[in-house]
Point group: C2
Chain length 345, copies 2
């Protein structure tokens, strides 16, 4: 079988406002200040496993030009455009039906474009393990992250058994602090990272079985994939798909779901706090963007991300976010970052 990678890059995530905006969401930003955007880092990570010709990016029309600009090596026909946002099940179905039309022996990894992986070598090791497993089985694999804290912000996978590949007993919603503490202590719960591995027959069959409405739309589209009519037909039919996540549509219904308990330094970078945690910091714990010049005096634990400003001097700030993009400045305590969604209005 041949490896393929599907990268889901349609999100408009607003938690990093004003650094991220609907015009240029998080996956297209160099949020770590390392010189590569999250989608670039995501593609880079897979290249030793899969040539760029077999990397597929699903995004919305609004982001096509950004994807082409940030991934110049990617064949333009590998960019799939969702005419409307329909959550992950239709997104994954679209990519997998299209891949199957030209590559019936595909073995597929699906990954979000905007997550962080610190240990790419370990990442590829466990992904390879999963690919080997799905190459000759009808297993659905969802990568599981070994929890490092009793996090309440993630969904959990309840895994059973021993070894590197374990059967998934159940999925659990984001828990209360008490439940998260119990999950953390019991040891067989893993974070659900939304990274999936399966072969192309497995996933299309599973969608056909558990989400027949989506499968039937994809079957109607299938004759047009890789033809001149693909775009127009997709634009007309895709929005008819029900809006549902792959977790609800398939994962929670199938009994042949497996996980690989992993530890590759993963973060979904879903909060400014996690961005700070994963960024390079000075001796006072300030995560400063490399450019422009940022000088700090008596500051601790701050995250600074600016774009238009040329020079920044901060004094006496402890645990603050200082973010600027295109002339919009936000200064906010990290402890209050959940309020940011209100600031945008």
């Amino acid at each position: 079988m041949e490896n393929h990678v599907v990268i889901m890059a349609g999100g408009i995530g607003s938690r990093f406002w004003p650094m991220s905006t609907p015009e240029r969401p998080k996956q297209f930003l160099d949020v770590l200040g390392c010189g590569r955007t999250l989608i670039q880092m995501t593609v880079d990570r897979f290249l030793p496993l899969c040539p760029i010709e077999r990397v597929w990016v699903v995004t919305s029309e609004a982001y096509r030009d950004i994807v082409r600009e940030q991934l110049p090596q990617l064949p333009p026909e590998n960019i799939l455009l969702e005419p409307a946002s329909r959550n992950t099940a239709p997104c994954i179905a679209l990519a997998c039906w299209k891949i199957r039309a030209a590559h019936p022996a595909a073995n597929v990894v699906v990954s979000p474009a905007d997550a962080l992986v610190l240990d790419s070598g370990e990442y590829r090791r466990v992904i390879s393990l999963a690919l080997d497993f799905t190459a000759d089985s009808d297993a659905i694999v969802t990568m599981g992250i070994k929890p490092s804290r009793p996090e309440t912000g993630y969904g959990y996978i309840d895994a059973e058994g021993e070894g590197e590949i374990r059967h998934v007993r159940a999925f659990r919603e984001k828990p209360s602090p008490e439940t998260a503490g119990r999950y953390f202590r019991e040891g067989h719960y893993l974070w659900n990272a939304g990274i999936f591995v399966w072969n192309i027959d497995t996933i299309t069959s599973a969608i056909r079985q558990y989400a027949p409405q989506i499968a039937s739309i994809m079957d109607t589209l299938a004759p047009y994939f890789h033809t001149a009519q693909e775009a127009e037909r997709t634009r007309r039919l895709f929005p008819l798909c029900e809006k549902i996540s792959i977790d609800y549509a398939v994962m929670e219904k199938s009994s042949s779901v497996y996980t690989v308990p992993s530890d590759f330094g993963w973060s979904d970078l879903g909060t400014w706090g996690s961005l700070r945690a994963n960024s390079e910091k000075d001796t006072d714990g300030n995560a400063l963007s490399g450019s422009p010049e940022v000088k700090v005096y008596d500051c601790e634990g701050c995250v600074v991300r600016v774009s238009t400003l040329k020079k920044v001097v901060l004094e006496g700030l402890k645990d603050y976010i200082v973010a600027e993009k295109d002339g919009t400045l936000m200064v906010c305590r990290l402890s209050e970052e959940q309020r940011i969604k209100d600031f945008e209005k």
Copy 2:
């Protein structure tokens, strides 16, 4: 006698960095966000006492265009350019020698361009009183501000006697907190605001007597004032003047110095704290500039002055300065504003 006003506008004050810069110092800024710059407010204040044709602005070559732009009614020949910064004594001598050459009956007020006066009516009342007094005497008047607190940041005037015009016994340097407390309690000490009133014969004679080096340079220049050669001769000779303040050169030496104890809502706006105190504030004590849009959440006692930024959202800041100019942003506690001079470097 006819009233004249000399406005000293050559300062490069750096305490409001980055709002003020050497390219556009404080006197040329709308620091209060009221739509008028400090030099415009200063000129406005005098117009009921003195027509614009008898207002003289002394500044440096670098600021000539800003003065012309901000004071379009001012006759261009009333802008005097100091080719070098030589403190207030040569500045005042230049203006007064030039005025005397064309207006031997001038009665003169000298004022800095960058101070604030909240009660312009009361200001004009006491200035008129001083002008009446100097019109037919050889008195040197320095306006005295009745202290509202034991301020250690100003020089003091020790006045004797009663009534609206009092003899000055002595000048006092910026005091220690203890001395400032005593000055405040004793009641006969006034803040030295650097606003002077005298007739043209009095000041030129006093400079001739107490600062003969400066007077002799001015005498050499005098034949060229109001001629085509004025600029070139000034450029050559003015820098030869010793660098000395009018206080040291004249005021502290003369025995005929008087003051008018005044209460016209004066501030030299020498600190961000004084700027905050004199600005319009929201119900939480935040002094926000009118434009661009500044939104505050759980903020108290902040001063915000931005220029390039289009939108500002602040959360959880108490007693901070947030200032931005041309892409340079500073966030600093008001209590630490004395450190700002180090931030510029």
